[in-house]
């Protein structure tokens, strides 16, 4: 079954968030990479872009389908995972180690409203 890590927060659109200070690291979950299948391209935002919670910030393309990435938090993109440009399959290898973007949070409370590991694991089972 899909892995869920206890120290992360989750969106019901299958992104994970790790908050450290005012920086949130965002990726897609193990469940999401399983559902997508082999990932061939990750369309990432640019550094300096503003992302808004609940809105699209990029897309993941797999051999099955292209899916929008929905940002679980709001703020400014301060870093993107450039390794994914040449090796998007890293997400298939370890979805939690291979984050997509880091965001300087404009509203830290947003992350608190996300699902915890237990609630997300339950969502995946349904």
């Amino acid at each position: 079954m899909s892995k869920v890590l206890d120290n992360l927060r989750y969106a019901d659109s299958h992104e994970w968030v790790l908050v450290e200070g005012d920086i949130a690291t965002v990726g897609i979950t193990d469940y999401a990479q399983h559902a997508l299948g082999n990932i061939v391209y990750v369309d990432m935002p640019e550094i300096g872009d503003e992302v808004v919670a609940g809105e699209e910030f990029g897309a993941v393309e797999s051999v099955k389908a292209a899916s929008d990435l929905i940002s679980p938090v709001s703020g400014e993109v301060v870093e993107i995972n450039e390794a994914l440009e040449d090796a998007p399959e890293l997400i298939n290898e370890d979805a939690f180690a291979n984050w997509i973007m880091k965001v300087k949070l404009s509203d830290a409370a947003e992350a608190d409203a996300l699902l915890d590991a237990a609630a997300y694991a339950k969502l995946c089972e349904e």
């Binding site: 299948g37 061939v40 393309e61 051999v63 389908a65």
Partner: protein, 488 residues
């Protein structure tokens, strides 16, 4: 059968040719009239082969192909029905095939009459006012239709309407076409039974909505029974309804999109009207509109004057041109031949037979395959993979295994509503024996998945090439012979 996978370039031998030309008596002259900068400095690298080399090469390759003429092709949403040979015969008549699009209309009255009659026939089948036959395929028709929608709002000065509502079950071309037409996409959710959630739709409707795109029956093959209410809501909000004609087949001669409240639609002649589809194309995606929108259709149009003469017309309020000349005329001839072959009475039998065939397969297989939405479907339906998920055998594996048994795979991983979608559309043109054979094989694959899952996971084993590396194919496609050599 002998293994054959060569490229024509691999057969090339320097100096070999299949022709003999007399000595060139004007050598030099022709070249000198072309400026130096436009002349080739090195000869073109064409394969040097004899006539038998060429004939054997392409005949061998053609035998590797799979098409409706070789076997059952249950590709959902694609309506891979049989392409009657009489259509081809008509389209190949020299009087049609040798026409030039710049000929004076006085010299092509017959062709223009066919064109005009097809415009009229489609309008009658769709319950709409007027059709353009210009667009080259389904998605091109969607783009054209959405440009009609956009032009309609803009000509009224209603420039705020930039959003198009698209269901989460829609064909992927719908949101893509809306983006290309310069409109924004808003998603409306489906209910658990797969149809549009009217309660989710209501709050989306406001004065920024240009319209909604729907296909009915939807991509799960289920008829949207609340269509009249949806049409009413969207119209009251000032929007238009677009009908994606990919799923028109089950409704032919029975239900008209115009009567369901649709304002604009496209028809895939290469699906519903039996013209070749896919590699055998080209396609054609006529667009029809209700009364009041005709003037926005693209140019040119074929019209009939009071004396019964046909002429090519250009309207001044048109959104412009979307094609060179009048579109894919050869395809139109085939579609028109199909309509005339069936006639008004028989065209009504297409939908019920397609529906019966789809339901027969669905009911015969639902013990082995997971049917997420029960009930009578229309021309197609969706399984969510094998019922027994414990074996690890996926929809992709089942699809590949079907190739081993000589069937084309169904559409897989679409619609996106389920993880293991397998979309099956048999069409009306298949016999009971073919359907039974397919059902037997699907049962057999399900048994194999339970008893020997690795066998299914390793499929296909009997095809010319085994399972392809789809990731590398998508990321690093090698499309040229030279690049292949460089990679060796």
């Amino acid at each position: 059968m002998k293994y054959y996978d060569k490229l024509i370039f691999e057969l090339s031998h320097s100096g070999r040719k299949g022709y003999e030309l007399p000595a060139n008596k004007i050598a030099g002259h022709a070249l000198e009239s072309i400026p130096e900068s436009l002349r080739r400095s090195v000869p073109a690298e064409l394969p040097e082969v004899s006539e038998p080399d060429v004939v054997r090469h392409y005949t061998n390759l053609s035998s590797k192909n799979f098409g409706v003429d070789t076997g059952f092709y249950p590709l959902g949403s694609c309506t891979m029905k049989y392409n009657p040979k009489i259509n081809e015969e008509i389209a190949q008549l020299p009087a049609f095939a040798s026409l030039h699009p710049l000929q004076d209309s006085d010299t092509v009255q017959g062709a223009l009459e066919v064109y005009y009659n097809l415009q009229q026939a489609l309008a009658s089948i769709a319950g709409l006012s007027e059709f353009t036959l210009n667009p080259y395929a389904g998605a091109h028709g969607e783009l054209t239709g959405l440009l009609v929608m956009r032009t309609y709002h803009e000509k009224r000065g209603d420039t705020k309407r930039r959003k198009v509502i698209v269901p989460d079950s829609a064909h992927g071309t719908n949101p893509a076409s809306a983006m290309v037409a310069g409109l924004d996409v808003v998603e409306v959710k489906s209910k658990p039974n797969g149809s549009i959630d009217v309660e989710d739709l209501k709050p989306l409707l406001n004065d920024e909505i240009a319209g909604i795109m729907m296909t009915n029956p939807n991509t799960l093959g289920m008829f949207e029974t609340e269509i009249m209410e949806i049409a009413d809501l969207v119209h009251k909000a000032g929007g238009l309804l677009y009908y994606d004609g990919a799923n028109l087949n089950p409704l032919l001669g029975r239900v008209r999109p115009g009567d369901m409240g649709f304002d604009i639609m496209h028809i895939n002649l290469h699906k519903t009207f039996s013209t070749p589809h896919g590699g055998g194309g080209p396609g054609s995606g006529p667009v029809g509109v209700r009364k009041g929108l005709e003037e926005y259709l693209p140019n040119p149009h074929v019209r009939k004057d009071a004396d019964g003469r046909f002429y090519v017309d250009f309207g001044k309020d048109s959104l412009g041109s979307v094609s060179t000349f009048l579109g894919n005329f050869g395809v139109m001839l085939k579609a028109y031949a199909y309509i005339l072959t069936l006639g008004k009475e028989n065209i009504r039998n297409v939908g019920p037979m397609a529906t019966l065939n789809a339901n027969y397969i669905k009911e015969s297989l639902k013990d082995d395959y997971l049917l997420p939405i029960e009930g009578v479907c229309k021309h197609e339906f969706v399984f969510d993979g094998l019922k027994d998920k414990s074996t690890g055998v996926t929809t992709l594996n089942v699809a590949k295994r079907l190739l081993d048994y000589g069937f084309h795979a169904p559409t897989i991983y679409f619609p996106l509503l389920f993880h293991e979608s397998m979309m099956i559309e048999p069409t009306e043109t298949e016999s009971l024996e073919t359907l039974d054979e397919f059902i037997d094989v699907m049962h057999k694959v399900a048994r194999e998945a339970a008893e020997n899952p690795d066998l299914v996971k390793e499929a296909p084993v009997t095809t010319l090439v085994r399972k392809l590396d789809e990731t590398t194919a998508a990321k690093h496609p090698v499309l040229t012979y030279k690049a292949m050599l460089a990679n060796d």
